[in-house]
Symmetry: C2
Subunit: 381 residues, 2 copies
């Protein structure tokens, strides 16, 4: 019995005004290949299918195409829950009809205690419980009980499932939450201040495997079998060092033992941060085999540069963000001059060199100094 655990697809995400949908499609194709190569019995998607509650039509088409291929062509059931980025009710349209086709969308707490049963070729029975993303308020209202934070909410939800658990089969729970102590990164939407969104892994100990979504880095929490699969691709520059993958979960048909393995995913464009002086980066870019990666460039030059973005994009077409900590950007003239320790004359000379390709002559420098001085004098009067 084998299933793939994945999460945080964020289909339809725009990143610095660039649509990532084509990249996402290619990554989904890699998942499809893993499914066929490994004779997978089911796919679990632990929330944040879409990037927002009303996804763009093109993202809906991509998901539709993937799901059709899985459940219709490959006959592999898909079990998914809604995440905090998904619009639960919108995602849940038609879910009762989908069940018959092997597509299980769990987006309402009504569905919490009804497991999806998957039986392997060797008759190993596995029950998958889906816990749609639920903030404390949702749980409080749904069950009419006192719930103060995410930990309370998940303690309650897991205990609800605990009441109906069949101990004779393997039980898997799918959840989209922030298990305490896990590392975070920029693109995980901050849910609350001061840790009220943290959930203890202890509540999940009675399950054989916990398929988590929400955090973008693959990792285990507390136990080997409580795992985040991580997102399918990088969604912020803070994720630049992540290695993205889906998690292949195998339940040994004889022993019932569970093992996991990461199957790597490679997005067509990597997301990287480059830091250095412009000239060095341009040099680097000319021989960079992955020059079309999505880049954040941090320029360390200390002098003014004319339109550095245009220059960079000649070699790195997908520079998405530029930081110039050493230069005059969004700061007062006085502050930047003080920081750079450079006068107007110095800065104009940088500019002149940049535009003309030559240093100013001494004559030109004198004239410039005169003009600047007379302007300064005028503004002081």
């Amino acid at each position: 019995m084998k299933f793939i655990h994945t999460s945080d697809w964020h289909l339809g995400r725009q990143f610095h005004n660039v649509s990532l949908l084509e990249d996402q499609k290619q990554v989904l194709n890699q998942i499809t290949r893993y499914v066929t190569e490994n004779q997978i019995d089911a796919i679990v998607i632990a929330g944040d299918i879409y990037d927002r509650s009303v996804p763009p039509t093109a993202a809906i088409e991509v998901l539709d195409g993937f799901l059709n291929h899985m459940v219709q062509d490959l006959n592999v059931p898909v079990i998914m829950i809604s995440g905090n980025h998904d619009g639960a009710k919108r995602l849940g349209f038609g879910s009762k009809q989908f069940d018959k086709a092997g597509l299980h969308i769990i987006s309402s707490l009504e569905q919490l205690c009804t497991p999806v049963e998957i039986v392997s070729d060797q008759d190993r029975v596995v029950h998958f419980y889906g816990m749609p993303y639920s903030d404390p308020e949702t749980v409080r209202h749904h069950y009419d009980i006192q719930i103060n934070n995410h930990d309370d909410a998940h303690a309650y939800l897991t205990s609800q499932i605990g009441n109906v658990l069949d101990k004779d089969v393997h039980n898997i729970v799918i959840s989209h939450c922030f298990i305490d102590g896990a590392e975070t990164c920029e693109s995980e939407r901050t849910l609350s201040i001061g840790g009220a969104d943290r959930v203890s892994y202890e509540h999940f100990k009675s399950f054989d495997y916990v398929a988590l979504g929400h955090l973008h880095q693959a990792q285990k929490r507390g136990l080997e079998t409580i795992r985040y699969s991580g997102s399918i691709m990088k969604y912020s520059f803070s994720e630049q060092h992540h290695r993205k993958s889906v998690t292949l979960v195998e339940i040994c048909d004889e022993s019932g033992e569970i093992t996991t393995r990461a199957l790597p995913l490679n997005a067509p464009h990597d997301m990287r941060v480059l830091e250095g002086e412009l000239e060095n980066l341009l040099e680097l870019g000319r021989s960079d085999a992955n020059s079309d990666d999505y880049l954040l460039v941090r320029l360390t030059d200390k002098h003014a540069i004319l339109d550095p973005m245009a220059k960079l994009r000649e070699v790195y077409p997908n520079v998405l963000h530029l930081e110039k900590p050493g230069m005059l950007v969004g700061v007062d003239k006085e502050i930047s001059q003080a920081r750079l320790g450079r006068s107007e004359v110095d800065m104009f000379r940088d500019f002149f060199l940049e535009v003309q390709g030559d240093e100013m002559t001494d004559n030109q420098k004198d004239m410039l100094s005169e003009v600047v001085m007379s302007l300064k004098k005028q503004s002081e009067e």
Copy 2:
């Protein structure tokens, strides 16, 4: 073999900033009752399920609830096409999975020539072809042929179905278009100028029944069996005299003969136009059993009235629009005065009477005249 033909639900429609969703739910309940009372074999919805391509979540929930009840609880298949108001791709999400559950959403021309087969208890086989709303450009691109207008498009689409038609069964086509000569009303979105959206009924003659949507008034076009069911409730004041219904279509199991019958729908609030003088309408309203209908009020009073909307809403709480053709509304002061033949002094006297409940005294009239004259004089200087 019996099926219900309906169309133009426009779920989620806002009318003069009032949500019609509660009314729509109640009307759908009436359809549900007809389905159970008449042992219906299928429901056909001929487009404009939603009012817009990205419907509000609450409208999605209403549709989901209706469809779940039909296909899951009552086991009655539903066949629907997308209309011009629907977002075809958004509506079509998961349609391949839905098929297995008896929910057939036809929103792509890919599905045009694949009929949904329904077999009655008496083994009468009926093929339903769905023609999603298609403007000429869509058809031109999809088939890569020359198409100039809606008539061309529908000639082509019907001929495509004609190529695969099984003459041994009953063939029904579902379409959302503007069959030539049909009466229109305000709330049918105007598609083009000069009749380029008109389609001849002749193209549809080879079908046993044509279930049309788009026009809001129930009617036949060309043949007895080419019919609009009309919308499920009134969606504009121009529809005030429509009688809304669904069409019950019966195919005689012995003879194969087709008969139709209108099953009336009654929205909780009617949509009506009231015309008259304020005092008369207020009088009428006090004894009007349906005073909570949605109203357009056309006041015929010739004198100025202070806040007539508030006065009307005391007896008719759902006045949604007010027209005052005889009064100073959105016209120049000079024009309205000329039309009314009333001076500033006259109008102020109306206002005074209205606010104070008493005529001005002669003294007050004199003072008013003086003030108005001095103001006029000042503005002329």
